[in-house]
Amino acid sequence: MAFVDSSKHESLSNVGNRFIVLSLIVALVLNLLPLQGIALSLRPDCVALLVLYWSINQPQRVGMGASFIMGLMMDVGDASMFGQHALSYSVMSFIALLMHRRLRIFSIYKQIPQVTLLLLSAQLVMLLTGILINANLPEWDFLLASVSGALLWPLLPTLVRIPQRRRPDSNVL
């Protein structure tokens, strides 16, 4: 990362591994919140969102391996087939890895449509595996999670940077 010189990514370049892990844990807790009804179908897949964010912005640290492990955690948490989330997150991370340079050219708002497609690709993989094992077919509002997730996307850099802004302050004091 020594070659990074653009000031845009400077605040993210010194992200610690511990911080990434912490953010993923918070995402897991958010995904496990006991919600029901419309809130449940509207709730974005926070783990997918953060995995996507880190594989676009920190591809050296969060790649397919981390996505796979987070997927396994979600499989157990969501009581779904073992490996279903893992596969979908790895595929999503792979696509993100291929296009992360191009994606970072765009402003955060222009990234929304592409992020929607990326999140939809993860859900498509889940859908295909679901069809493969002859499970229930989900209703259409299953796809709303991707849309709401993508709409949250512009907030993510600010949310993620909150703990980092505080750190230099505490050093000064």
Binding site: L40, M73, A79, S90, L97, R101
Partner: protein
């Protein structure tokens, strides 16, 4: 342009890694669905996940406690309502104890085996997994509280489902509305036996294997028949809502509405497992075909 140059990167390329992870997850999926393997890995991950799950449950619990401080008015209403219900139930209970004594006597007279009493433990729904491919809930009682695989879970109105996976501190319940989950039932009105099968949607089930001319009406109550040795007999399961008898099919298409629902309340009862059905004695060959129906019922 901005990240490390290509020649610094080591390890296999992204496509190779994707293939590796895809194959690995496919392998896991096949092992999980086909062979019901890998409980240890799942258990380990569940142990890691359990504190997070409890943490996620905390806001709901705090909300309950805080709102508990403000509901004294509605509590008074609830208490008066419950008192009224208690009174009417008490009358029925008195009747029931008389009936029970009579039943024991009659069964003794007929030399039939006594009905077993079912014990139960309360549990709380910890979490409704956001998995659109299955209908499951997670309970806060696990193998450490004595929960076993295959136990039946009910709420105050009827059957909810069956415990299908167990962790030390929690357990997963497959709901009766899950796709292809079947419950053997009996019509209360005329004792007709059949099976209620989930189709994977909330609030709707199908009654299968009833002839198009079967005596059934909408509004009929279905209770468990108890012939499977898993579900205790007499628990309400569903009510019949719609009957379509199409002459092109030999069976009627009957849809039902499940009696219980997990969205209604958070407390549920886990019923203790029934004693195992005694081994069937050796039978002459020609009778076997008749009895084959019995063996296939229930989710394992």
């Amino acid at each position: 342009m901005e990240t490390a140059p290509q020649f610094f990167r080591h390890g296999p390329g992204p496509l190779a890694r994707l293939l590796f992870f895809a194959l690995l997850s496919l392998l896991l999926m096949v092992m999980d669905t086909r062979f019901k393997y890998l409980p240890e890995i799942r258990q380990t991950i569940a142990m890691v996940l359990n504190p997070l799950q409890r943490m996620a449950y905390l806001p709901a619990e705090i909300f309950d406690q805080v709102s508990g401080l403000f509901v004294s008015r509605s509590l008074v209403d609830e208490i008066t309502h419950l008192r009224g219900r208690h009174l009417s139930d008490q009358g029925k209970l008195l009747e029931l104890s008389a009936l029970e004594a009579e039943n024991v006597q009659l069964r003794n007279l007929l030399e039939m085996e006594l009905r077993v009493e079912v014990q139960s433990t309360t549990a709380e729904i910890l979490y409704i997994p956001n998995d659109p491919f299955s209908r499951k809930v997670t309970l806060d009682k696990g193998s450490l509280s004595g929960t076993q695989l295959g136990q039946v879970v009910v709420d105050d109105v009827g059957v909810i489902g069956q415990i299908t996976r167990i962790y030390p501190w929690m357990s997963e319940v497959t709901l009766i509305t899950d796709k292809d989950h079947s419950v053997p039932v009996q019509l209360v009105r005329n004792g007709l036996r059949s099976m209620v099968v989930g189709i994977g949607q909330d609030g709707i089930m199908e009654l299968r294997y009833l002839a198009a001319n079967a005596d059934i009406q909408s509004g009929d109550l279905l209770v468990t028949s108890g012939i499977d040795g898993i579900y205790p007999p007499g628990l309400p399961v569903a009510t019949v809502s719609k009957i379509e008898s199409d002459t092109t099919y030999s069976f009627a298409r009957i849809t039902c509405i499940p009696a219980a629902g997990v969205s209604r309340n958070r407390q549920v009862l886990i019923l203790s497992p029934l004693p195992p059905i005694p081994e069937r004695p050796e039978e002459p060959v020609e009778n076997i075909r008749k009895d084959k129906k019995r063996g296939k019922i229930g989710l394992r």
